[in-house]
Structures are given as C-alpha cells and as structure tokens.
C-alpha cells in the first residue's frame, strides 16, 4: 500500500513588495499561526503534537544571514524538534513540500510542518536581480550579463521562432493571472489589464515586458502534513480537520544542466522513448505531429522546453495514476515566473503538445469560468491554470512560493477558497484533483506534486 499523507492545513502571509514592519521569523509566524488556527488548535497544542519541520528559503544573501532556518524554527517554538533547510532556487518551496511529504511517507514523522519565506526587499531590485543571477554559472553565464529575465527571453525568442508563438498569446497569460488575483487578497498585484497594457509596459528583455514578469516580494507560507496516525493525534487533541480530506497522491522531480547552453537536442525516437507522456505515446495523431516537428528541425529539449518539468510531471502523474492531465486535473498552480514560462510549462506538463502552448494560452482552456477577462476566448475553461494569480500576480518570495501553491491547492480541494479569500470567485467548482509545480533556475530543478480530495 502506498503511504497515506494528508495535507490538512496551510497559511500564507500577505505577499507584499516590502514588509519592514516585521522580521522574517515573525512573517513566517503569521502563516504558521494561520495554519494552526484553521484546524482549531492552540499554539501549545500543536507544538506538543508536531514531530518536526522542513524550512524553505532560497538565498542567504537577501537576509545577509546564514542559518535563517533555525532562527525561524526557534521563533516558532519548534526547538529541539528535528528540522532542516532545503534549497533549490525557485523550486525551493516545492522541494520543501516534498521533503515534508517524505518525512511523513517514510514513517519518520506523523506530523510535519513545512514553512518557507523570503524577504527580497532588503536590497534594490537590480541587486536582487544580481543575487538571483548568481543562480547561474558564475564562470560562464553570469559574467556575460547575468539576468534571469534575459535568460528566459532567449528561450522565448527560440520558442517564437520554432513554433510561431506570439507576444499576444503570452499577454493572455498576464491578463488571466492578474485578473484572477483581483479576487485573491493574499496577492501583491491585483489588476485588470488588456493585452495592449501588457505590451505597452516597459520592455525589460525583448520581447518580455514588465507585465510578463513576476515581481520580487516579501512573504511566507506554511503547510501541515500528516499520516493517518498523525490525523488521529490531531483530532484527539481537538483539531477540526476539514472534510473531505486532502491527500498528496503524486510526487515527481526532474533536473537539468545549470547552463542552458549545455542542454541536449535529442531525436524523435529518444524523445518518444524517454520523455513523451503516456497520452502522447498512445496517440497516432500526436506521433505524426511530432514526426513533422522533427522533420522541420525541431530538437528536444533545446532551450525552448524544460525536460526537468516534463520528467517531474511524468513521474508525478505515474505516481498518482494519471494519464491525461488536461482532463484529469481540475486545476494547476504552476510556476509562472514569466508568461512565456507558463506557456512552456503547459507543454511540459502535457496540457498540450510541444509547440502548441501559444494557441493553448489564448484558447481559454486555462482560464477560470465565470470571470470576464475582457478577452475573446474561443474555448471554454477545462483546467484553470493559476487560479490564484500565480507568481506574476501573487508575487514570488522564492522560498514561500511553492508552499503558497500548496496552501491554495489545499483550500481549492477542501472547497474553502471562499472562506479564506472572503470571495468564492476563484473556487474551482467540485475540485477533486489538482497539481502544484515549482521550478528553479532556467529549468534546473522542477517539482510536481498531485493533491486529491478523498
């Protein structure tokens, strides 16, 4: 029997450009206390029951503080319980969630709390960009002009050239995510934009404008995971755990070379054998489509695709028993650091075929039903992507981001978005299964986790 791991609660601090009013430990406590309160326990009761923790934060530079994790552990009153820090760039939060899952799934802990944070406001934006760019090879990538928006812009020019993807299709993602966030009180940017607004915004790295790119943030998030025994312990102590229960049913991870220049360009047969989804392998039409791409010079993954994302998705889907994510997932919270990377990720996660991410973005399939985006969308929503507003609108306090996705996914599956947001517009009706996707570097670490309602 696969181990049963429940995700029973979560909390998120309000993401903001700057939170000088509190130190990072106190911001973590906001999210942590919310998660405890939401299951009706006191701080002391939860402290008595929780077995340990995993801490998530990306950069020691932003705080100018080593071992920030233990300072949060200390502030939360978790000492001397076990805990450790995980770090993997932008995927730090997703890795943290999965490490907490492992702690429970392995039987090492019955109740584990995963908390994460980042306080990026301590430096100017351009210095923050420099810190982030140090997550590229400092011998060969950074000195050339280290700037992550530049790296992603290069990927998208190749995507545009290879597949005909347009800036207007990318702008659809920005319009969607900003307007979704209008209904999310935790989000940093809650705005209604038009396609023209996105294109008219200041150019950052051609063709990405400021509204194609997520912002830096201060924020924290926390989730509580437990085993069946852990669930019984919490409830015996008086916890009110929302029914239906939410389980973590699939875990997947992938990696790729730090220098995106080093990524391979494999042939059709290798792709079909090692990277194609089950759905792609079984479809004659898709095999013919892909043969056509390769006949026209397409090679995989190159710099236009993330094989780490594809590997993580395939692994998580197999674990959860999914074959067609577009119809079997009710929503996805994915790592949209850039509008272009949301489009690339549609393809990696198998929501559409490689090369079809642009038309998919503008189709309407990834939008929320019942929200007027002011766009002419030809198709109805099938699988809303980033119903919360994603990184582009919620903000991206790196160590908190993947856990924020987990919290919003838990609330979606509990059906409690209305309670937590004070607005039910973003509740995916009858959501039974969702995925969260966390992504680092230029696609170096990627995690995908599948959560399901019992």
């Amino acid at each position: 029997m696969p181990p049963v791991v429940y995700a029973v609660s979560g909390g998120v601090s309000k993401f903001a450009k700057a939170r000088p009013d509190k130190t990072f430990q106190a911001i973590v406590k906001e999210a942590y206390d919310y998660a405890i309160r939401d299951i009706g326990l006191t701080f002391e009761q939860f402290t008595e029951l929780v077995d340990g923790s995993v801490a998530s934060y990306f950069s020691d530079h932003f705080q100018r503080q080593l071992m920030s994790g233990i300072m949060a552990q200390d502030y939360l009153g978790l000492c001397p319980k076990p805990g450790h820090r995980v770090e993997g760039g932008g995927a730090t939060g997703g890795l943290c969630f999965q490490e907490a899952w492992k702690s429970v799934a392995s039987g090492h802990m019955d109740i584990c709390v995963a908390y994460g944070f980042e306080t990026m406001s301590h430096v100017e934006t351009w210095k923050g960009n420099e810190f982030i760019a140090l997550a590229s090879d400092v011998s060969f990538d950074y000195p050339v002009g280290g700037f992550y928006s530049g790296y992603y812009a290069m990927m998208v020019t190749r995507h545009m050239k290879e597949f005909g993807t347009t800036v207007e299709q990318m702008a659809h993602v920005s319009v969607k995510n900003h307007l979704n966030a209008y209904h999310n009180p935790y989000a940093q940017k809650r705005n209604r934009y038009s396609i023209q607004d996105i294109r008219n915004a200041p150019m950052v790295a051609w063709p990405l404008t400021r509204l194609d790119i997520c912002v830096m943030s201060d924020g924290a998030a926390a989730t509580i995971l437990c085993s069946e025994d852990g669930l019984r312990k919490l409830e015996r102590a008086g916890a009110t755990i929302s029914r239906p229960l939410v389980r973590v049913t699939g875990i997947g991870r992938g990696t790729d070379a730090m220098r995106m220049a080093d990524r391979p360009h494999v042939d059709y047969d290798y792709f079909m054998r090692h990277y194609a989804t089950g759905h792609e392998q079984s479809s004659e039409d898709t095999r013919t489509y892909y043969r056509g791409l390769w006949d026209n010079g397409f090679r995989y993954p190159g710099v236009h695709s993330f094989r780490a994302g594809r590997a993580a998705g395939n692994m998580a889907y197999k674990h959860a028993g999914l074959t067609d994510p577009l119809t079997e997932l009710d929503f996805i919270e994915l790592h949209d650091a850039y509008t272009s990377s949301e489009i690339q990720t549609y393809e990696d996660l198998g929501l559409c075929r490689y090369g079809e991410g642009g038309p998919f973005a503008a189709s309407g399939k990834a939008f929320m039903p019942g929200i007027d985006y002011g766009l002419n969308l030809p198709e109805k929503p099938i699988c809303p992507v980033n119903p919360s507003g994603g990184l582009i609108a919620c903000g991206h306090p790196v160590g908190a981001t993947g856990l924020m996705q987990a919290v919003f996914a838990i609330w979606q599956l509990q059906g409690t978005i209305g309670k937590h947001f004070g607005d039910a517009a973003l509740q995916v009706k009858n959501a039974k299964r969702g995925a969260i996707h966390s992504h680092a570097g230029t696609g170096t670490y990627v995690t995908v986790s599948v959560l399901e309602r019992e």
Binding site: H61, E124, G150, M154, R158, V204, W206, P207, A257, A261
Partner: protein, 180 residues
C-alpha cells in the same frame, strides 16, 4: 508623447539620525504604544573579494587571450561541448580540448533593457546563444553590431563570427560575436 519621469528616484542612503523619537517616560501605556512604532531600517554594507579558480576550465580562458576558441570533446563518442567541461555527461569520460569554429549562427537572443546591478551601465545589451557546425551544445555570448532597438526574430539563424578583446579580462566575454 514623451514618457517623462514623474517620480524622483529613491536611493537607500539617508541622513544619520542622532535622536530616535522615544517615550520620555516609560510606563504600561507608553510601553504598549511601542507596538505601534514604525520599523527602524538601517543600511548594511556587504562586500567581498573572492579568489575564484577556473580549475580544469582554465585553458578556455587562456585560449581566449590568444584568440583561440576552445571547446571540449568526448574522444570516444565525438560529442562536443561549446562550453568547457572536464568530463562528458553521457559517458563520464574525461574530455579533450578541441578548437571550435570561429563562425556560427544565432540560435536565440534577447535585448536586455534592464539588468543586474553590475550590468546596468551596459543596457541595452544583447545576449545570444550561438550554435556551431559539428558542435552539440550552444554558447552564451554578447552579440554586437546589430541595433538593440531593432530586435527581430530574423536575427535567429544569422551567421556570426567571433571577435576577441585585445585586452583580456579573463572572463567569457573576452570573446563576443558580430554578424559575419
């Protein structure tokens, strides 16, 4: 219409304050009021000089100072990297140094109108990934000789050639590319 700035730029520096407002008498009421005090923010400087070793990749930089563009090749499979790499990622074998072509083509590019602090003075600058005949991976570089304000997807596929800085900085930007 001109896009004129409407806000003065903010900087981190400020005046040194010699006296922070604080209650003149401490009692239960004034101590409770401290919970409503706005945060004090100070500037902290953090500066380090690293002694960074290029290790086994050092010949690449020595090559650039002599206007030679070196890559690495797996001797058994012939898989060739445009970036130095001491061991092949597929066979695990030690690679050999090879001289790469001085001409290639633009595989992908962008124009950076903003950047990290170190590179802000150089904006707008062009980043490009270059592909080479007979080489299996790409090379990240600066592209010169095209107008940053005329970015076009037509640049992809453009033939380019290597140029070298006369005064080496021992950085990967000692080589850059221009239209061939």
């Amino acid at each position: 219409m001109l896009n004129l700035p409407t806000r003065r730029p903010e900087t981190m520096g400020g005046y040194i304050v010699h006296n922070i407002p604080f209650p003149t008498a401490l009692n239960e009421q004034t101590l409770a009021l401290l919970k409503h005090m706005s945060p004090i923010q100070i500037e902290q400087v953090y500066q380090i000089n690293y002694l960074h070793s290029y290790g086994q990749d050092s010949p690449f930089f020595a090559g650039l100072t002599n206007e030679v563009f070196l890559g690495c090749r797996d001797p058994k499979t012939g898989y060739t990297y445009a970036n130095p790499r001491g061991h092949d990622m597929y066979t695990g074998d030690e690679t050999q140094w090879v001289v790469l072509p001085n001409e290639g083509a633009v595989h992908a590019f962008t124009v950076c109108h903003f950047g990290s602090e170190e590179f802000l003075p150089e904006c707008p600058y062009i980043l490009a990934l270059i592909e080479f005949e007979g080489v299996n991976t790409l090379f990240l570089t600066r592209l010169m000789g095209v107008a940053p304000n005329r970015a076009s997807l037509d640049w992809i596929g453009m033939k380019v050639k290597a140029e070298y800085l006369r005064n080496s900085k021992l950085r990967p930007t000692d080589v850059y590319f221009v239209p061939a």
